[in-house]
């Protein structure tokens, strides 16, 4: 189980290869990559800055990964989230879950990104032709996280 918060980009292929290495018990590897969109709520986005709460962020991510490990039989999971200045098309986040079978790996991966979006202290500020603005939280993200209650 590993969480990382970093400014640098990540290579999905090498992260997934590292997750699988020397683990013949893995039968399913599910990953989610979040990417900066070029448009948001009808406005063009030229760049974005991600702020976070150092210390709490890592703790919150580690707690989510731990919770996923309690809910599903997982072999391993990683979360890598970038901070700082990002451009459209840039990778923001990688969530990857390895399990023996796809069912638990799919569920745990979706759980992790849903929880991350509503519980990890990151904030996006995007630059549009109308100026810079803080991204508003979406009710649909809260509803997505709510599905995992219990």
């Amino acid at each position: 189980m590993m969480v990382r918060v970093q400014e640098a980009d990540f290579d999905v292929g090498s992260e997934l290869a590292a997750l699988r290495r020397d683990r013949p018990q893995i039968g399913a590897l599910v990953s989610f990559v979040g990417v900066v969109r070029a448009a948001s709520d009808g406005a063009g986005v030229s760049e974005m800055t991600l702020e976070h709460y150092p210390g709490m962020t890592e703790k919150a991510l580690a707690a989510m990964v731990g919770e996923a490990g309690r809910r599903w039989k997982l072999i391993d999971a990683i979360v890598i989230h970038r901070v700082g200045r990002l451009l459209p098309g840039d990778q923001i986040v990688l969530v990857a879950v390895a399990g023996a079978h796809r069912g638990e790996a799919f569920a745990a991966c979706e759980f992790l990104i849903d929880y991350l979006k509503t519980r990890a202290p990151f904030w996006k500020r995007e630059v549009t032709p109308q100026g810079a603005r803080w991204v508003a939280a979406r009710a649909s993200d809260d509803q997505a996280a709510e599905r995992w209650r219990d």
Partner: protein, 84 residues
């Protein structure tokens, strides 16, 4: 032991301040009490508690406004999170 307070994102911008340390104000025992104390500063501070969906953390755990606080704690105020 000082109380450390952190402000993030739009909340930090509204207050014009990212962090501060102060002695635990007399009579303050929870997050709501701290917000009341800060509001006495006037200006943007008066509106801190009224920010829609204001979130708070004590010692890096998200909590409600009834959460107790004491000297040496780290308290943070921020808007709903938007990562991922």
């Amino acid at each position: 032991m000082m109380l450390k307070i952190l402000y993030f994102a739009s909340v930090r911008e509204q207050l014009g301040q990212g962090s501060e340390e102060l002695p635990l104000p007399a009579g303050v025992v929870d997050v709501a009490g701290l917000l009341g104390f800060l509001a006495q500063r006037g200006g943007a501070w008066e509106h801190l508690a009224e920010i829609r969906n204001l979130r708070q953390a004590v010692n890096q755990e998200m909590v409600g406004r009834d959460a107790p606080i004491g000297a040496g704690d780290e308290v943070a105020f921020f808007p709903p999170v938007t990562g991922g």
